[in-house]
Symmetry: C2
Subunit: 261 residues, 2 copies
């Protein structure tokens, strides 16, 4: 693996779906995978959203599987004509797409023979050499080939598939985070914060402004692998906030997921 | 421009922000820009989420501005140490970052001299040769340099900035869409839908399963530039849905933005 000699284990997500680019659908999987990977010590370093096009998928997967320890794709493994991911992954790996007996048995069991038509059987076509990833929601499996994990696009299924593989990933030290928030303005805290980022160069200090109840504030998130350093950094940020005349509050570092402004 | 000889005008979005990759924040700007660009005849063909790192930003911007008619970046133009986008864009274009008098005047007006500290003044440093993009929310401007539009990350500001530039974009024919939904299962509709995609090869037929009130259904969205063809395709899809025993309903093609499953 390209970065096997460093301590950071890095990943990329490829969201495959015209519906995300057209604005019809707001992606939820990048966020789910970003936080899920961090919890097992893998850092999501890049995400791409690409169109439903075999050559685009092939080129993107081949570029990124060489650069990242792990690649996760979401979307494009359903029964319809615009589901092209499995075919593209086979092509990217120079292997064939073939009917997988175990996948077929799961679909058989789920649908019964009467409903298992040709379109649904397409979901049992898996690149040769891939290992199946369980789908507890609707049975049609994802799969892993090399360092590429192919997940469904529907968020509930993508989440279930990720949960079933995440403990098999070889991560680095888990990424820890703490956050502190105060009703101070980002521009007033910027200078002391920049100085603290130099002091705590081993951590990543992020600054996120918000408006709550009509008042401007900022959340500072410290991320890293050393809990004691993170605590020290957040304490120092809190001190800088107090120097601006407000009492800070500890905050869930995961946030609501929504940017409140 | 690379695709100036074709009728499709294509764009890419670069979301710059560790907070999106760590899972702290769920991006909203890809969806906003995807639908906003379609409304002026520009097709969003790719989106990337990248880390707050100058070299990564430079390399990504230079790769993509050569491949797309328009590139939009979001994030990284605030007052703190992790706001690196303006510096990176200057570097990507081999130009200098310099204090922009008009941007400084806007910040002066917004903050007053007492509050316009060095950190906030950083937001008036703009690459030489760039045109400012108005920020009606908090004044600190975005900018355009060549075919690259640099917007704020906060969704409300990114939206306002995009609204102020979108009518200046040279788009192709506006992308139109219609949708129809029915309580049929995607796998049952897949074969007739694939045949219709061949008949309507000039359109993009997307298939999106859902669960509502505990019932499985599917939405089919037709996208293209010819309203009559789109109507014909949706009528044909509706006929195929009726053949499966359910009455379809017209649906907002934009959707809720959330995948309901």
């Amino acid at each position: 693996m390209p970065t096997g000699h460093t301590r950071e284990v890095i990943a990329c997500v490829i969201v495959i779906g015209n519906e995300v680019l057209s604005g019809r659908t707001r992606d939820a999987n990048i966020q789910m995978l970003g936080s899920g990977l961090a919890s097992v010590g893998v850092r999501l370093k890049e995400a791409r959203v690409i169109v439903d096009d075999i050559q685009v998928i092939v080129d993107t997967v081949n570029e990124l599987r060489a650069r990242y320890d792990y690649v996760f794709t979401t979307g494009g493994i359903g029964p319809t004509h615009d589901d092209l991911t499995s075919e593209a992954i086979a092509k990217a790996f120079n292997t064939v797409l073939e009917r997988n007996p175990e996948a077929e048995a799961r679909l058989q069991n789920h649908y019964g023979s009467g409903e298992l038509n040709a379109a649904r059987l397409k979901m049992a076509d898996i690149p040769r050499g891939a290992a199946l990833i369980d789908n507890p929601v609707s049975q049609a499996p994802g799969f892993r080939l090399g360092n590429v994990f192919v997940l469904a696009g529907v968020p509930r299924i993508a989440q279930a598939m990720f949960d079933s593989v995440k403990h098999g990933l070889t991560g680095g030290a888990p990424v820890l985070s703490r956050a502190v928030a105060a009703y101070v303005r980002e521009g007033d805290l910027a200078a002391p914060l920049a100085a603290l980022q130099e002091t705590f160069a081993d951590l990543d200090l992020g600054s996120y402004p918000f408006v709550r109840d009509g008042r401007l504030g900022v959340s500072i998130v410290a991320r890293g692998t050393d809990a004691a350093r993170i605590t020290a950094a957040i304490d120092a940020v809190a001190t800088a906030m107090r120097a601006l005349g407000t009492e800070p509050e500890a905050e869930d570092p995961v946030g609501s997921g929504e940017e409140v402004f």
